[in-house]
C-alpha cells in the first residue's frame, strides 16, 4: 500500500482506477455478446463468462453505467435493425384497406395483405423477445442487485418495451400524412386483427396461430416499463376494441336474423356463436376475454331481441311449447339461463301456456258431446278426434255415463298436459326448480279454477279401479295410481276430494267392484302423500269390510248349527258399517233422504225373521250397539221361476224358466209382494208404497229398473211409458224371457256417477258445513295453545293449519270467530284492538 503517506487520498483512488479500468473490457465483452445474440451468432459465448462480467461490473458499482449502456445499445440496434423492415411493411394500400375498408378491396386480397403485415410484426417480435430474454439472463445480476435497488424497470422490461414505444406507438409515418387523424401502428395492428376475426366469423379461414402470436405479444407488453399487472396492452387497448367491434358485429347480426330468419335458426345461431367465441378465446385470443365476449354475445345476440324472437309467430316460444320442439327449448333454456337467472320470460310464458291449455281442456269438455260412447283412448287423442269423431255409432249413453266420460276425459287431458310439461322440464329445462314450481303453480291454479276438479279426480280413480285395473300388469296399475296421486297434489280443496272419494269408495266396496289390495295400495299412497288424518275414514271402511266378512261367515256357521229349517232359504251377506267412516248417502242419512230415513220400510216376513235372527246373533257379544238396516244400500239375488205359459208349445215360453235376478233391496221387497199376488192382478204405485214404506223417489227408481229396462222387465207397467208415475199400475210379467240366466237389474242413479248441478250444490253445502266445524276446531286448538292472539295472527295460523286440507276463505274464518265469541269460547281483549283471548 503505497498510499500510506498521504492519508487523505490513499485507499480509494487506486481502487477507483482499478474499477474504471475493469469496466471497459467487461463492457466490450458484453456488447459484443449482445451483437452476437442479435445476429444469432452463437457458439463462442460462455454464459458464465458474460454473467461474471456483469456481476463484476455490478460489484464495482457500475450498475447504472451498464444499465444505461445496454439501453442505449438496444435502442440503437432497434432503430437500425428492427424498425426499417417494419416500416417497409406499412404500405399505403395496407393502411387504407385496413383502416377504411374501401369497397373495392376483395376479402381475399385484404386477408393476404393483413396476414403479411402481421407475420412481419410477429417475426420481428419473436426475434426481439428471444434476444431480450437472453440478454436479461446475462444481466440477471444487474437486475437483482442494481435495478431492483434503484427502483428502475428491469433490463428486460426496458428493452422489451422498445417494441411498444418504437413500433406499436410509432406513427404510421409518411403513409399517414394523408389522414387527418394521428394513427399509430397499434391502430393498424388492431384494425387488421379485428378484420381477420370478422372474416373468420363470416366463414373465412384465417391463420389462427398467427393471431395467437400477435395477441400473446400484446399480453407480454405493458403500458409502461413498470409492468403493472392489469396494464397489459392486450387488456388496455386491444380487448376493449375487440369487445366494441364484436358488439357492433353481433348487434347487426341479430337485427339481420330478426328480419330474415326465425326463432329456431336464431337459437341455433346464438348457441353456435357462443361456442365459436369460446373457441376463439381458447385458440386465438386470450382465455381472459372469454367471459367478456360471451357477455357481448349474450347481450347483443340473445337478450337484445329475446322478446321479439320469442313472440314470433310459428317459431316463437308458444309454438315451441305447443309443438314440443325439444331441441329449440333445450337451447333456449341454456341461453336464457345465461342471460337471466330468474328465467323470467320462459317462466311467464310457460305459466301462461299452462293456464291457457288448462282452460282449453275445460272449454273442450263443454264443446264435446259425450252422448257417443267414447273410449278412454279416444279421449286421449285430443280435441280434434273428439270433435270430428264418429258420432254415428249411436248408443246413447245415460246422462250419468256421459258425465263419467267427461270426467275421465278431463283427467286424461290434464294428465296429458302434465306429461307434456314434465317431459319438457326434464329434457329441456335441466329439471330447473324455479320452472318446476312455476308450472306446478299454474297447474294447481287452473285445476282449482275448475269447480269439479275434486269430483273428477275421484271419478277418474273410481273408473280406473273399477274398470281399468283388472287385467292390467302391476306396472300399469302403478302408473295409474301415480297419476291419480299427481293430480291429488294439485287440489287445494282436499276435503272436497275426500268427500267424493269416500262416496265412490263406499260404492266400490259394497258392490265388490274393485280389488281390495289395489284399493288399499291407493289409500296407502294417499296416506304418504297427504298424511294420516286424510285416510282415517278410508281405512275404517276397509276394516269394516273385513270384520263384516268374518261376521257373515260366523253367522252362517251359527245358523247351520241351529239347524234352522226355513223353507225359503235366504242367504244373508251382511256388511256392518261404522257410521262415521262411511258417507252419509250410503248410510241413508243424506239430507235429501232425511224423511225417508226416519221411516223404516216394511220388509217381507221372511226377511224380517232373518233380520231379527242376525240382530240377536250380533248383539249377543256386542250389547249396547245400535244396528240400523240400510235398505237403500243393499242388493239381493232372487231365484225366480217363471212357469210354462199354457198354449205355447215352441219357443222359450213353452218351458219353465229359472233366472237369478240381482236387484236392490228395495227391488226385492217390491218383488216379494208380487209373490203373494194372484195371477192377473196388479198393484198401483201408491198401494206399493203403502205396503213397503219405501220413499217415493227410491220406489220410482226401483220400479223403473224392474219394469222399463227391457233386459229385466219382470213387471209389467200400465200404461207402457218410459217414466214411472205415481198413478201407474204394475203386474207380474209371466211372459218374461231372457237369454242370460243371471240378470242384473239396471241400477238407476248409481251413486258413483257424476253429480248433477243440484246434487253438487248439495255436496258443497254439506262440505261447507263440515268446513265450519273444522275451522271451529282449528281456532279452538290454536287459541287453547296460544291463549291470546291478534285477529291477523289467528287468521294466518288457521290458514296454515288447514293448508293441507283446504283453503279456508277469510269471511268463513271471521264468521267462525264471531260464532265462537258468541258461544264464549273466546273473548275480545279489552283495550287491544282486535285481539282474542281463549276462555277455558
Amino acid at each position: 500500500m503505497a498510499s500510506r503517506a498521504n492519508k487523505m487520498r490513499p485507499i480509494r483512488r487506486p481502487i477507483m482506477n482499478r474499477e474504471a479500468s475493469e469496466f471497459e473490457p467487461c463492457w466490450i465483452l458484453l456488447r459484443d455478446a449482445l451483437t452476437d445474440i442479435h445476429t444469432k451468432n452463437a457458439g463462442r459465448l460462455s454464459f458464465e463468462q458474460l454473467y461474471r462480467a456483469s456481476y463484476k461490473i455490478v460489484l464495482r458499482k457500475k450498475g447504472e453505467l451498464l444499465y444505461d449502456k445496454v439501453r442505449t445499445f438496444e435502442e440503437e440496434w432497434f432503430r437500425d435493425h428492427i424498425m426499417p423492415p417494419i416500416s417497409e411493411l406499412i404500405t399505403n394500400t395496407l393502411v387504407s384497406v385496413a383502416l377504411f375498408h374501401p369497397p373495392a378491396s376483395s376479402m381475399h386480397e385484404r386477408r393476404q395483405m393483413s396476414e403479411k403485415f402481421l407475420r412481419g410484426i410477429r417475426d420481428s417480435w419473436e426475434e426481439h423477445n428471444m434476444s431480450m430474454n437472453m440478454i436479461a439472463d446475462i444481466l440477471m445480476y444487474l437486475d437483482r442487485a442494481y435495478t431492483a435497488e434503484s427502483k428502475k424497470p428491469s433490463i428486460f422490461a426496458t428493452t422489451i418495451g422498445l417494441f411498444r414505444d418504437h413500433i406499436l406507438r410509432n406513427s404510421l409515418g409518411a403513409v399517414a400524412q394523408d389522414f387527418d387523424q394521428p394513427y399509430i401502428v397499434f391502430d393498424l395492428l388492431t384494425a387488421v386483427t379485428l378484420d381477420l376475426i370478422n372474416m373468420e366469423r363470416d366463414g373465412d379461414i384465417i391463420d389462427r396461430s398467427l393471431l395467437l402470436k400477435i395477441t400473446s405479444m400484446l399480453e407480454d407488453l405493458y403500458e409502461t416499463d413498470e409492468e403493472i399487472d392489469n396494464q397489459k396492452l392486450y387488456t388496455t387497448i386491444f380487448e376493449p376494441k375487440y369487445i366494441d367491434n364484436s358488439r357492433v358485429f353481433y348487434r347487426m347480426e341479430c337485427e339481420r336474423l330478426l328480419r330474415e330468419s326465425n326463432a329456431s335458426t336464431w337459437l341455433r345461431h346464438a348457441q353456435r356463436r357462443l361456442n365459436e367465441e369460446q373457441d376463439r378465446c381458447d385458440t386465438t385470443l386470450s382465455i381472459s376475454t372469454a367471459d367478456k365476449i360471451a357477455k357481448v354475445v349474450e347481450t347483443e345476440l340473445v337478450s337484445a331481441k329475446l322478446d321479439e324472437f320469442l313472440a314470433l309467430d310459428g317459431t316463437g316460444l308458444k309454438s315451441m311449447i305447443d309443438n314440443d320442439r325439444i331441441d329449440d327449448l333445450t337451447i333456449l333454456y341454456s341461453l336464457i339461463s345465461r342471460v337471466d337467472k330468474t328465467k323470467h320470460v320462459l317462466k311467464n310464458t310457460l305459466q301462461t301456456r299452462v293456464m291457457e291449455l288448462g282452460l282449453e281442456i275445460e272449454q273442450a269438455l263443454k264443446r264435446t258431446d259425450f252422448s257417443a260412447p267414447v273410449t278412454v283412448a279416444g279421449a286421449a287423442d285430443g280435441d280434434e278426434a273428439m270433435e270430428g269423431g264418429d258420432k254415428s255409432k249411436v248408443q246413447t249413453l245415460s246422462a250419468a255415463a256421459q258425465q263419467t266420460a267427461a270426467a275421465i276425459k278431463w283427467v286424461d287431458d290434464v294428465l296429458q298436459l302434465k306429461d307434456k310439461f314434465d317431459t319438457l322440464w326434464s329434457t329441456c329445462f335441466n329439471q330447473d326448480l324455479v320452472l318446476q314450481s312455476a308450472v306446478t303453480k299454474s297447474f294447481s291454479e287452473f285445476i282449482n279454477m275448475f269447480a269439479r276438479s275434486s269430483e273428477y279426480v275421484s271419478l277418474f280413480i273410481d273408473d280406473n279401479l273399477k274398470r281399468g285395473i283388472k287385467g292390467k300388469t302391476e306396472d300399469e296399475v302403478d302408473i295409474v295410481l301415480d297419476k291419480a296421486i299427481v293430480l291429488l297434489r294439485y287440489l287445494t280443496d282436499r276435503d272436497m276430494f275426500e268427500r267424493y272419494y269416500q262416496k265412490h269408495l263406499a260404492r266400490r266396496l259394497l258392490h265388490g267392484k274393485s280389488e281390495i289390495h289395489i284399493e288399499k295400495e291407493m289409500v296407502y299412497r294417499m296416506k304418504s302423500e297427504m298424511g294420516n288424518h286424510f285416510t282415517i275414514k278410508f281405512e275404517g271402511m276397509f276394516k269394516d269390510m273385513e270384520l263384516s266378512r268374518d261376521l257373515t261367515d260366523n253367522y252362517r256357521d251359527h245358523i247351520r248349527n241351529l239347524g234352522d229349517t226355513d223353507t225359503r232359504k235366504v242367504d244373508l251377506n251382511i256388511n256392518v258399517l261404522t257410521t262415521n267412516n262411511w258417507p252419509p248417502e250410503v248410510m241413508g242419512r243424506g239430507s235429501s233422504q232425511e224423511e225417508g230415513a226416519k221411516m223404516e220400510c216394511i220388509y217381507p216376513s221372511a226377511i224380517k225373521r232373518l233380520q231379527e235372527s242376525f240382530f240377536k246373533y250380533y248383539l249377543k257379544d256386542r250389547s249396547g250397539r245400535v244396528l240400523t238396516w240400510v235398505s237403500s244400500a243393499g242388493t239381493a239375488d232372487i231365484k225366480c221361476v217363471f212357469p210354462k205359459i199354457p198354449g205355447k208349445e215352441t219357443g222359450p215360453l213353452s218351458k219353465e224358466r229359472r233366472y237369478e235376478l240381482n236387484v236392490s233391496t228395495y227391488g226385492m221387497i217390491v218383488l216379494m209382494l208380487f209373490n203373494d199376488l194372484p195371477v192377473g192382478e196388479s198393484l198401483g204405485f201408491e198401494e206399493l208404497q203403502a205396503k213397503t214404506n219405501i220413499p217415493a223417489p227410491d220406489l220410482i227408481r226401483t220400479l223403473a229398473s224392474l219394469s222399463v229396462a227391457p233386459k229385466a222387465r219382470v213387471l209389467l207397467k200400465d200404461p207402457l211409458t218410459k217414466n214411472v208415475k205415481t198413478t201407474d199400475k204394475f203386474s207380474y210379467n209371466a211372459q218374461f224371457v231372457s237369454k242370460a240366466i243371471k240378470i242384473k237389474a239396471p241400477t238407476i242413479s248409481n251413486l258413483s256417477k257424476v253429480e248433477g248441478d243440484d246434487e253438487r250444490k248439495e255436496t258443497e253445502k254439506k262440505n261447507d258445513q263440515t268446513r265450519a266445524h273444522v275451522v271451529d276446531a282449528a281456532i279452538v286448538r290454536i287459541m287453547k295453545q296460544r291463549k291470546q292472539l291478534t285477529h291477523t295472527q289467528l287468521i294466518t295460523e288457521v290458514i296454515t293449519q288447514l293448508a293441507n286440507r283446504f283453503k279456508p276463505e277469510i269471511p268463513l274464518i271471521k264468521k267462525r270467530i264471531e260464532d265462537l265469541l258468541g258461544r264464549e269460547y273466546l273473548e275480545r281483549v279489552e283495550g287491544e284492538a282486535s285481539s282474542y283471548r281463549y276462555l277455558a
Partner: protein, 270 residues
C-alpha cells in the same frame, strides 16, 4: 457405502415418521455420490461434479439460464465456474444435495508451522486464497464439537494443543458470497446462520480476518448485500480489544467501507 451417513435407510435410529424424508435425503445423497442420471457437469479448476439440472437449475437462476443452446454451457452440458474458491464450490454442490455442508478442517500446515499468534498474520491475497483450501475435506459433524471449546472473546487465543481448531468463518463467508453470486437464497441463509453460530462457539481471530477479507473485498464483497457485513461489524464492536491488534488494524485500514461501518456502529453507541 453410505452407512456412515446420517440419513440411514436401514431404519436404525430413524423414526417411522421421519423415514420418508430420510429416504429422499438418502436418494439425493446417492445421486450426489455416484452421479447417476447426471445431465450437467460443473467444473471448477481441477474439480468436476456430475450434477442434475433438475436439482441445480431449479435452485439457482444462474444455472437455469446456463441451459440455453445459444451458449457454450447449453451446448456442451458443462458449466465451468471461474474465479470461485474450489472449496466453496465443492460445498455449494454438496449443499444442493444435502441442504447442508460439512465443517472443514483447517489446512494442517497453517497450524503446524507456527504456534505464535499466527491467525492474526496478514491475510493472503484473495487470488491465493483460492488455492489455500485445496486440501482434503473432512466430514466433521458439528455436534461432535463440545461447547467447552468455545473461545473466550477477551483476547485469549485458543490453545494450539489437541486437534487443530476447525474455525470456518471464512468458509461460511465464501459460501454466503457464492449464494449471492448464483442466486441461491437458501445457501446464503444457511451460511449466515452458521457464521453467527460459530461466532458464539468456535472461532479464532485469523479466521475472522479472512472472513472480513472475503466480505469486504471489492472482488467478492457486495455493497448491496449487508447482512454478512452487519454480523462482522457487530462481532468487531463486541470485541474491541481486537482492534488493538496490528493485523486487525491493517485490515480495517485496508477497507474504507469497513472503517465506515465500524465508525457508524460506534457512533450509534455500539
Amino acid at each position: 457405502m453410505w452407512s456412515s451417513y446420517p440419513y440411514n435407510s436401514d431404519g436404525n435410529g430413524v423414526k417411522a415418521k421421519d423415514r420418508p424424508s430420510a429416504e429422499l435425503m438418502n436418494s439425493l445423497h446417492e445421486l450426489f455420490e455416484n452421479g447417476l442420471y447426471s445431465d450437467l457437469t460443473i467444473k471448477c479448476g481441477q474439480d468436476e461434479y456430475k450434477v442434475h439440472k433438475a436439482i441445480v437449475s431449479t435452485r439457482s437462476p444462474f444455472f437455469k439460464a446456463c441451459d440455453n443452446d445459444f451458449f457454450v454451457e447449453g451446448k456442451t452440458g458443462v458449466v465451468e465456474l471461474r474465479e470461485v474458491d474450489p472449496v466453496a464450490e465443492k460445498l455449494m454442490v454438496h449443499y444442493f444435495y444435502h441442504l447442508d455442508y460439512p465443517r472443514q478442517a483447517k489446512p494442517v500446515d497453517s497450524d503446524v508451522e507456527d504456534t505464535s499468534p499466527k491467525p492474526l498474520a496478514p491475510l493472503p491475497d484473495t487470488t491465493s486464497t483460492a488455492t489455500q483450501h485445496g486440501g482434503d475435506l473432512a466430514l466433521l459433524p458439528i455436534a461432535a464439537r463440545s461447547p467447552k471449546e468455545k473461545t473466550k472473546m477477551n483476547g485469549i487465543k485458543p490453545k494450539p494443543a489437541g486437534p487443530p481448531p476447525c474455525t470456518n468463518l471464512a468458509i461460511h463467508a465464501r459460501l454466503y458470497e457464492i449464494g449471492e453470486r448464483y442466486g441461491i437464497r437458501g445457501l446464503k441463509d444457511l451460511a449466515l446462520e452458521k457464521f453467527k453460530s460459530d461466532l458464539k462457539s468456535l472461532w479464532e481471530p485469523g479466521d475472522l480476518m479472512e472472513a472480513i477479507e472475503v466480505t469486504y473485498s471489492p472482488d467478492l464483497g457486495n455493497d448491496n448485500d449487508n447482512a454478512m457485513r452487519k454480523v462482522i461489524v457487530q462481532a468487531l464492536s463486541a470485541h474491541r480489544d481486537l482492534l488493538t491488534e496490528a493485523p486487525v488494524q491493517e485490515v480495517v485500514q485496508k477497507f474504507g467501507k469497513l472503517s465506515f461501518d465500524l465508525m457508524m456502529t460506534f457512533h450509534k453507541g455500539g
